[in-house]
């Protein structure tokens, strides 16, 4: 089951065709402060995008606009050819194809790990309980914590919780996965167990947008790295070019700050 879920977008480097995500001239304001300035971005099927930038640069807001946890005020957000609009039911349908993983995990503390994973399949997809549980178990195995299924989230370590969150998102069989700083709230020794899961997911061909400062992950997995500052995309390039030969002074400064510890 799980291999089906993960393997359907097998060729990231085939002909590009139609983009699965399209941001066209998207702008957003918090009050009178402009957080996003005319963002244009196309993401193709199977692509892995890493977004980085200083804090407050708008990167989290941008990916939160992609599944409309934040609403933008200008421009368009198009997913699989359908634009988010004012029709709430339609927006919910579009959102089903997008899985999201949060910095703070946001697991439901009153439900067991298994129940966290089966909640959406049962209530949103109307899946029989046994089938949902089988699906959840297979995905928990994939993130290597099937033995924790009966525990409650707060009984797990941060890394385990984040892996449950990934499994929970995968249970909805999404075509796109958004990661909002998935390792920022983790202790250093737990970062790799989460990154390993994400790398494996990437290798299976999932379309992914990852906001992260893990540059080794970007180098290894990303098709494109996007650098944002002050609400706009400063530079986007394949990882090799981005890290070895950044073109903008701002990018160089940022890289020198995060790579020289």
């Amino acid at each position: 089951m799980s291999t089906n879920v993960l393997a359907q977008n097998a060729s990231p480097s085939g002909d590009r065709g139609r983009p699965v995500i399209e941001l066209v001239g998207m702008s957003k304001w918090f009050g009178s402060f402009q957080v996003l300035k005319d963002i244009d971005l196309r993401v193709y099927e199977g692509e892995r995008i890493v977004v980085c930038g200083p804090s407050g640069s708008g990167k989290s807001t941008m990916i939160r606009c992609i599944n409309q946890l934040e609403t933008h005020q200008e421009g368009e957000v198009i997913v699989n050819g359908e634009a988010f609009g004012s029709n709430v039911a339609n927006n919910d349908l579009i959102r089903r194809d997008i899985g999201m993983v949060f910095q703070q995990f946001n697991l439901f503390p009153h439900l067991t790990v298994l129940e966290n994973c089966t909640l959406a399949p049962i209530w949103v997809k109307e899946m029989p309980k046994a089938q949902a549980e089988a699906l959840a178990m297979s995905l928990l195995e994939r993130v290597r914590i099937p033995e924790q299924a009966a525990k409650y989230p707060l009984q797990l370590s941060g890394g385990q919780q984040q892996r449950v969150a990934i499994a929970r998102a995968l249970c909805m069989n999404p075509k796109i996965m958004l990661f909002d700083e998935p390792t920022s709230a983790l202790d250093p020794e737990m970062i790799n167990e989460v990154l390993d899961v994400m790398i494996e997911l990437a290798e299976s061909g999932m379309t992914m947008i990852v906001v992260t400062h893990e540059m080794n992950f970007a180098r290894r997995v990303a098709d494109r790295v996007i650098f944002m500052d002050q609400g706009e995309i400063v530079e986007e390039a394949p990882p090799a070019a981005f890290f070895d030969n950044p073109r903008f002074d701002r990018t160089q400064l940022f890289l020198s700050q995060i790579l020289h510890h």
């Binding site: 009050g31 009178s32 300035k37 030969n245």
Partner: protein, 455 residues
């Protein structure tokens, strides 16, 4: 971005300069008054209907209130009949409240002695003002003196009567305390030194060792006390029995005493309940749970009927004192639970750190644990004070003439028979103002402390 990507990257060493786009103003429909109204009042059809309903409710409430309290109100009349003849029930009849105003505030306190109440409360304000003045450093001492010494001064002012030796000494102490507070405030604001140090300097001890300076300071305090004592013996106030106390004055006296007593008593009870000594913990717990599980009115009744039974035949306890004892014990039990909550919220590490520094039990409690526990519980503690202030109205049931009883008496006065709503409205404003200001002050304080902790 688009034009800069056109530039070729043949000179890899020379970086392109990132020029951020200037921010554009937000779409007009989302900011400013229009944007705010759209988001908060008219975001959807049901929301707009709610806004209209709410506006109608607000309008009808305030138009009713203003019509009754101001526009149709009668301001001059000799009795309620006149008011009713003029406007019926469509307007308030304020003359009754105005006529009773002195009683609402001072109860039946003799008119020519009322200045003593005013003076007593002004003294408290004057005592507390230095706490908010910049440059004053002995704030803890001033605050403690306001709690520990001021009551002697105030109670004599309010009660009066023959002084006797003990009372004379206590009043002199009160006067000394008051003078000391202001002298210290002035010297600390001007010279940055407490009063005793300045006195030592004036007496020529500035170059001498610490010990000598202290003794000079002590001597000046002694002199101050003697002067006060001489002054105090020169005058005497006529006695005003507590059965004449009433109105807002009585309410403030009872709640003031309750508040001052409940905090230290609550601290002790909370410590007792958490004590490792089983007997002390059991006794504290029993006391707390007993007083918390019964209504205040039953405790008031109990003390009212049983206190005379509990005490020797010849001891007379006046009714006010019975009520105050009941209110204090009740408030202490509630305060104990609040403080226990604060103590439980202190991380174990703080206790361990205090132990590790070799502090004894009382040292670690007073220096490390209690300051933190009190600080995090400020909103709840003030909430308890507000509750206590509201609960003082219950003394009216056992026959004391607090603000509530006084306002009921207006409608029982033969000239203002049936005039209930107006005095109730008036005292509601008073109670609300006191409670609301207290709660706003605590919110303010909490915010300031939180800001201080973040820095």
């Amino acid at each position: 971005m688009s034009d800069s990507t056109l530039v070729t990257t043949d000179e890899a060493s020379k970086a392109l300069v990132f020029k951020p786009k200037p921010p554009r103003p937000a779409p007009p429909s989302t900011v400013g008054v229009a944007g705010w109204m759209r988001a908060n009042l008219f975001s959807s059809v049901p929301n707009t209907l709610l806004t209209i309903l709410g506006a109608y409710l607000v309008y009808s409430f305030f138009s009713m209130l203003i019509n009754w309290a101001l526009i149709n109100a009668v301001w001059e009349a000799d009795n309620r009949r006149e008011c009713l003849d003029l406007v019926g029930r469509s307007g308030a009849c304020w003359p009754g409240v105005v006529e009773w105003l002195p009683n609402l505030i001072y109860g039946l306190y003799p008119k020519d002695q009322v200045w003593r109440i005013n003076f007593g409360f002004l003294a408290l304000i004057a005592w507390a003002v230095p706490l908010w003045l910049p440059g004053v450093r002995s704030k803890v001492a001033i605050g403690l003196s306001a709690v520990l010494i001021y009551p002697f001064l105030a109670s004599y002012f309010f009660m009066g009567g023959e002084k006797g030796v003990i009372w004379t000494l206590l009043i002199a102490l009160g006067v000394t305390g008051f003078v000391w507070v202001w002298l210290t405030t002035i010297t600390e604001m001007r010279y940055g030194l407490p009063f005793t140090r300045v006195m030592a300097g004036i007496l020529g001890a500035s170059g001498k060792p610490e010990e000598a300076q202290r003794s000079y300071g002590r001597a000046s305090m002694g002199a101050l006390f003697l002067i006060s004592l001489i002054v105090v013996t020169q005058w005497e106030l006529p006695e005003v029995q507590t059965r004449f106390w009433g109105g807002l004055f009585l309410t403030l006296v009872i709640s003031g005493i309750g508040i001052t007593f409940s905090l230290p008593a609550g601290v002790l009870l909370a410590l007792g309940r958490r004590s490792k000594m089983p007997l002390i913990s059991l006794l504290s717990t029993t006391f707390i749970e007993l007083f918390r599980s019964v209504p205040l009115i039953t405790i008031l009744f109990m003390f009212n009927t049983m206190l005379p039974l509990f005490l020797p035949v010849d001891v007379e306890v006046n009714q006010l004192l019975r009520a105050i004892v009941a209110v204090c014990l009740f408030a202490a039990a509630y305060m104990a639970e609040v403080i226990r909550g604060g103590l439980q919220a202190i991380p174990k590490g703080q206790y361990e750190a205090a132990d590790a520094m070799g502090l004894g039990y009382w040292q670690s409690i007073t220096l490390i644990i209690m300051p933190q526990a009190l600080k995090i519980m400020i909103p709840t503690i003030v909430g308890n004070f507000i509750g206590l202030f509201k609960d003082t109205t219950l003394v009216s049931i056992i026959g004391l003439f607090d603000l509530l009883s006084m306002s009921r008496a207006v409608g029982e006065d033969s000239r203002w028979l049936g005039l209930f709503i107006e005095p109730f409205f008036f005292i509601t404003l008073i109670y609300f103002l006191f409670c609301f200001l207290m709660s706003q002050y605590s919110i303010n304080l909490e915010r300031r402390l939180a800001a201080g902790a973040r820095r």
